[in-house]
């Protein structure tokens, strides 16, 4: 992935908004991409993934591990609070495959623009979740520079170093020594 030659823009995806929102003249738009998750044996179906800047992890349902052939180790697990309840998350390495922006929902032979291996959390999934893949800070936002615009109703995924090249001034002055810049 060379600098300057990796930039893909994904339009926000409109979802159905329920009748309770009849008073609001604004569509429900989600920052989403299409992606798959690959384990040692198989690759998942194409998933409508939520790009979630408020989540620190990449998360998938626990049963996805069996689907793609990953063995989970409870020694690599912690608890998070999501959907109003605490859930145990077991972590393992998996490969994420990011589909090209022109890939359509339901496209049977999608093109992929990038794949990378990262730590993925497998957990008991909220039954009313709309998606099967959450792309959070570690595992997605640290793999790229992710630029999001609700005004433009789109997000762009570009080279990891793009952020530093845009902003010449240091973002954090006098950062404490105890929290050096993380190098993934």
């Amino acid at each position: 992935m060379g600098e300057g030659d990796f930039e893909h823009t994904y339009p926000y995806l409109e979802e159905h908004r329920g009748a309770d929102w009849h008073w609001l003249d604004r569509p429900l738009l989600r920052p989403s991409v299409l992606a798959t998750v690959t384990g040692p044996q198989e690759t998942s179906d194409l998933l409508l993934a939520l790009v979630d800047s408020g989540c620190d992890h990449v998360l998938v349902p626990e049963w996805m591990a069996m689907r793609i052939g990953i063995e989970l180790d409870d020694r690599r697990s912690s608890t998070i609070r999501i959907g109003g309840s605490s859930r145990r998350v077991q972590f393992a390495e998996a490969t994420l495959n990011l589909a090209h922006p022109q890939t359509e929902v339901g496209e049977s032979t999608p093109d992929f623009v990038h794949n990378w291996t990262t730590l993925v959390g497998f957990m008991d999934w909220p039954p009313l979740a709309m998606t099967l893949l959450i792309l959070g800070q570690a595992g997605f936002f640290d793999e790229f520079t992710v630029t999001m615009s609700r005004h433009s109703q789109a997000l762009t995924v570009s080279h990891q170093e793009d952020f530093d090249s845009r902003y010449e001034s240091p973002i954090v002055r006098n950062a404490p020594v105890a929290s050096p810049r993380f190098e993934p």
Partner: protein, 64 residues
């Protein structure tokens, strides 16, 4: 990203998880686990999987 009308699919299949392939819903189930393994059992590959919320559900924030 898509010419498939997600809103219309979600309205029609409200309350279910669906698998869409080449413009059509090829499978639907009440749970994601059931759907994904039904696709595997039927050897259906190349589908996109997502959930269609019911009209009376509260709107999700994040994962919900």
């Amino acid at each position: 990203m898509s010419t498939v009308n997600l809103v219309e699919i979600q309205k029609k299949w409200a309350g279910l998880w669906v698998a869409v392939k080449d413009g059509d819903v090829v499978e639907s189930r009440p749970t994601a686990h059931a759907l994904v393994f039904a696709l595997k059992d039927r050897d259906i590959v190349g589908a996109t999987v997502f959930r269609c919320p019911s009209d009376d559900e509260a709107e999700l924030v994040g994962l919900g």
